[in-house]
Amino acid sequence: MKFELPKLLYDYNALEPSIDALTVEIHYDRHHRGYANKLNEALEKHPEFAEGKTIEAILSDVNSIPEDIRQAVINTGGGYANHNLYWAILSPNGGGLPKGELLAAITKTFGSFPEFKTELTKKANSVFGSGWAFLVVNKNKALEIVASANQNSPLSDGKTPILGIDVWEHAYYLNYQNKRPDYVTAIWNIINWDEVERLYNETV
């Protein structure tokens, strides 16, 4: 079984001006593709292990990964899965507010949508080094905001990510350089709430 690079659902320039075309192209075609290729390469050593499993299932149970490829799968499998999510929850038609049950859950957990937005923004800006900030659904089906280092997946802590903000410098450096907070502010204009809601409903 080979993990494949999901098709990007929009053109490289579709997320401008929030994310520039060159960044999307390199991020998707080099970084994301690189994680997919290296994941498949690592799994070649244990073809039976990944057979029939989704990447989400693998990352949810990292202790079952053969030890000699465990860290490689955490890194590259995490990179693969995190980026699958990232491209899916962005859209040129995004922005605005969530609706329905997701909005109700956000309001219940964080007080209001603006308070949620402030908290997730703060979390993304506070990651030191390479990593991510996520909105996740935890084991109690409640929403939570978490950060993770490098490509570590919240799935490995029993949490299902439904929105991910990539704060590796490669996600924004060509356009924003050291100004990560500007990138994090701009990304709210392209969040695909329909997809985040779909993931939320699927998880709870």
Binding site: N75, G129, S130, W168, H170, N178
Partner: protein, 207 residues
């Protein structure tokens, strides 16, 4: 103690074509400056921790830093110190090979300079996420070694004196090399300032 941004000993464009002018400018005036700024903010509230101490000394004695600010000092103090060294060990007149006592030590530990270079390159390329590849001297044994650290962790905190530092945070190369970190790491050897590194090595032996 107020720490200061060391003067950059060359112009922003001096390391071209290996490291482009815009990268040097932003790396020095924004990233390095911001670590310094954040460090001084911490030092202001905890003067007794930093009193008369070089930042490398604070990082060496990191266990004595109050727990409440320790991670901040590791991050911001490390970022300040690591970049201080990075700019110093680069030079537009760099490149070539090491000389003198240093090259003897390199041969003793790695057999050839080429082996040492290959190992250091491989280490820097292998860092997953943000961090550094280093050639260091062990403070006790005086042995050379190649290590990696994550984020802004300093070799001083694990009893090593750094000689060569290769910054592999993406901000060190992304504008020019994007995802091609191995190319940046290979090219940086054209601007390695061996005179400075040899002087640091001789000082490290006396430490």
């Amino acid at each position: 103690m107020i720490y200061e941004l060391p003067k950059l000993p060359y112009a922003y464009d001096a390391l071209e074509p290996y490291i482009d002018a815009k990268t040097v400018e932003i790396h020095y005036t924004k990233h390095h400056q911001s670590y310094l700024h954040n460090l001084n903010n911490i030092a202001k509230d905890y003067p007794e921790v930093f009193l008369d101490k070089k930042i490398t000394q604070v990082l060496t004695d990191i266990d004595n830093v109050p727990e409440k600010i320790r991670q901040q000092v590791i991050n911001q103090g490390g970022g300040y110190a690591n970049h201080n060294l990075y700019w110093l060990i680069l030079s537009p007149n760099g490149g070539g090979k090491p000389d003198g006592k240093l090259v003897e030590a390199i041969k003793q530990r790695f057999e050839t300079y080429e082996n040492c270079k290959r190992e250091l390159e491989a280490a820097a390329v292998s860092v997953f996420g943000s961090g550094y590849g280093w050639l260091v001297v062990d403070k006790n044994t005086k042995q050379l070694d190649i290590i990696t650290t994550k984020n802004q962790d300093s070799p001083y905190s694990i009893n090593k004196i750094p000689l060569i530092v290769i910054d592999v945070w993406e901000h060190a190369y992304y504008l020019n090399y994007q995802n091609r970190r191995p190319e940046y790491v290979a090219k940086i050897f054209n601007v390695i300032n061996w005179d400075e590194i040899e002087a640091n090595y001789e000082k490290a032996l006396l430490y």
